[in-house]
Symmetry: C2
Subunit: 493 residues, 2 copies
């Protein structure tokens, strides 16, 4: 008993003590919390200052629309319904112009259709007498709500008209049910539509006139950035992991940046964002370099190919881990070929990225890099075919070491394939979107004609192959002639 | 002149002709469209009948809540504000219980806080006279709207409270601006909160009582399904691409199914869906086999590991294309080891998937399969170490053929690593989530003790290694004893 009292005292004491401790630490904790939130807010604002601008734009739009409530002449015409305008702004005002346009359009159209149907349903129900009216309205609401909800599962509707169907159910219920109590149902429907139109217009004007953020431009830039991220990895992989003496010095600046080296990981899960952006972009009118019917689908396609390349790169990245033994006795020739493939693919991707960013036709140097990477692939395979003798001199331990490098080589060859597909898709995009045709800089021509010495004398790039690559790019015709020389490939490293 | 008249007549004629054509084809086209939509609807309903149930639930909830409008006694207490209840149902009623709960909670809390702040702002503004009032209210609205909009960019808030912040802006604007015209602002705030609470409760009750769809269960099942999809690919890869004689007959049923073989592709882009599901699941109370604090984070972690494995599999899949030359003179030993790795990993993943599905501790056979796949890896490497002699007898062409198979082997070894990580993560999940402990079936014990003949006599699995694998699973202690025999690994194929 004595023990238990002491125990409970102890508990009380410790409870009081803990409460005291907690209270004493509270200001500290609060300060830490506030500092944490402030740091986060600062980071978010610094990462993308448009977020701050967007917030102020939303505040401005709501304040502007609320003027309908303050000024007597404006209030007279709408009354309490003016609040719908404020709500529309809150709900419709999105970060990008496309999203705002899409939501506004959905809301307006859905209100128009649902308002009309609601008024019709009310009149029809009115014919059924005082008891039949609520039953019929209830039935209408039930059927329309269930049908619209089911329609929202259709993938195409979900992607573009989900919000419209939601507002349809909302407005239809609102108008038809209100009809049971209110007499001027037509006026109600009209007010709702007008106020929504006002709210939507104000949102749209402020969103698109004050520092607009275009979904299309976001998508365009993110595709370019993703290409550059993959290029950065491959550059780092060629310069750091495969470590060549001559290239290391050139690329050490970017290659040493560990975070940029791992930047490709965000590409792996980019599908959702890209598809959303493309859906928003379809609503946007022409702006800047983009027409109304810009081929946004091509970006989706390109994004898919970039992700496919990123999956290969992720598999490649698994071999960069410190716990996986790096082959010590690297085959010099294989290593060199791999480095070349990696660096040339990197250059292809980075140049394609910067061409997209500048909305110009991919320059001839892109072709040159592809040809160069393919030449390195050929040089790799031909080395393996011609040099069977080296294997006989090796001991069995070294055979084991051939496996990781063979895998790296295979994955790199696969990446060259992916890069080529990405380049083809980019050419298609450039044609479809009428990208600017620029005269190739003389520097690029020099690169092309600058034939480096070849590690593998047997390498042959057929004319058909080259024609296949170059034919896609109509601007480059004539700039970049390749004879049927046996060992021609270009590079600028 | 005559020509141009004739031309224009021709144009008119062809226009009329085209209009006639179009009008004649219209019914056909309409029928085709209707048939298309109906087929799609039928498919959507068949794929997941819960969609139909959900649609009827939404209809029911809206109809129920609209009763507040029809019955005089109910209408008396709320008046036109009863419409808020209908709107709440439309907006809050989501497919899963978790999403509905989350949205309802967000809406209710945001309305409560914003209502309180709105009333406060109104009273404060009231003190500033007739001119100062709208200015101060406008200022308040501007600041709160801008701040809340910015807060929505915080990743944690975006994931769980995005809707709450939207409703906060909406309600705060509504209450504080309304205060300028309406006298009984407190009553307005009270009505809004009550009607929203009613709408939310009705939604929640109908959603969770009539055939509820739990986000947690969806996440749980989708993780299990994703594992099984990867397992199916690996089974198909082992049985079809690597083609062994004895296994082919066993696995041909599943392996021939091309679509299920490619089913892993949906895993690649599953991140978004999984994270959403986990966010919804956190709102859900205990249900079925899941407690309130079920370790949903562990599912996210597991999902990430599964995706990592899927990336490797995608790289592997690139070698299954018909255009990539399949090595003709396959090294029998390498092929056998690869098949074994592939099939054992497949079994590991499929068993783990079915264990998760049944919420039971992974059975000892999972360990057996991991051990078996690791043994196959060892047998592969030891084959390569011991058999340097075979290379000297080969010609150079066959050296080229070693590259694809070496890559496949490397990727498979990497997949074994991934599989082990997935297994460890699943064990952690089983412990954290208190999965049911079942007594291993005698069949499994037989599998373990069934020692098949070994291709590589040097293979050694150290006790430490086995201990590492088996120690994670407390149930299996004692069921599965492995001596320090030199060539022990198990299999059930």
């Amino acid at each position: 008993m004595g023990f238990s009292v002491r125990d409970s005292n102890d508990v009380k004491l410790s409870l009081a003590g803990r409460a005291w401790c907690w209270a004493r630490q509270l200001p500290e904790k609060l300060v830490a919390k506030v500092v944490g939130v402030a740091t986060m807010a600062n980071k978010l604002a610094r990462d993308d200052p448009r977020r701050v601008v967007h917030s102020f734009k939303v505040g401005l739009a709501i304040t502007l629309v609320s003027l309908f409530y303050y000024f007597q002449p404006l209030y007279k015409s709408f009354g309490v319904s003016a609040m719908w305008a404020v709500m529309t702004v809150v709900v419709v005002f999105e970060f990008t112009v496309g999203a705002t346009l899409g939501k506004g359009f959905n809301r307006a159209m859905a209100t128009l259709i649902a308002g009309g149907l609601g008024v019709g349903a009310h009149h029809l129900a009115n014919l059924c007498g005082k008891i039949g009216e609520p039953v019929l309205i209830g039935l209408f609401v039930y059927i329309f709500a269930a049908a619209s909800t089911f329609m929202r599962f259709f993938p195409k509707i979900k992607a573009r008209y989900d919000y419209g169907f939601l507002i349809f159910i909302l407005t239809f219920s609102f108008i038809s049910i209100s009809g049971y109590r209110a007499d001027e149902i037509l006026e109600l429907a009209h007010k709702r539509l007008t106020t929504i139109a006002i709210g939507g217009s104000v949102s749209l004007l402020i969103n698109s006139l004050i520092f607009p953020v275009w979904a299309g431009e976001e998508l365009h830039n993110s595709i370019a950035l993703n290409m550059e991220k993959l290029g950065l990895f491959l550059e780092g992989f060629g310069a750091k992991y495969l470590k060549t003496t001559e290239d290391e010095t050139n690329n050490s600046k970017d290659g040493n940046n560990k975070s940029s080296f791992q930047g490709y990981k965000s590409v792996l899960n980019s599908k959702n964002v890209e598809e959303n952006m493309a859906n928003f972009a379809r609503w946007e009118p022409g702006h800047g370099k983009f027409r109304y019917h810009h081929p946004w689908n091509q970006y989706i396609k390109l994004g898919g190919l970039i992700r496919q390349c990123a999956y290969r790169i992720d598999a490649l990245n698994a071999f960069c881990k410190p716990d996986i033994q790096k082959p010590q006795k690297f085959q010099e020739e294989i290593r060199e070929a791999c480095t070349k493939i990696s660096l040339e693919s990197s250059k292809t991707l980075k140049k394609l990225g910067s061409c997209i960013r500048a909305t110009t036709y991919p320059s001839s140097s892109v072709n040159a890099h592809i040809v160069s990477s393919k030449a390195a692939v050929k040089s790799l395979t031909c080395f393996l075919t011609s040099s069977s003798s080296i294997y006989t001199t090796q001991n069995s331990d070294e055979l084991l070491q051939i496996i990781p490098i063979a895998t790296i080589a295979s994955l790199l060859i696969d990446i060259v394939d992916c890069t080529e597909k990405i380049a083809e898709c980019t050419y298609d995009l450039a044609i479809l979107a009428h990208f600017e045709k620029v005269n190739p800089k003389p520097e690029n021509n020099n690169q092309v004609s600058d034939i480096v010495d070849n590690q593998c004398p047997e390498i042959v790039i057929t004319i058909a192959e080259l024609a296949l690559i170059t034919s896609v790019n109509p601007v480059d015709d004539g700039n970049f002639t390749v004879g049927n020389s046996d060992s021609q490939h270009s590079s600028d490293d």
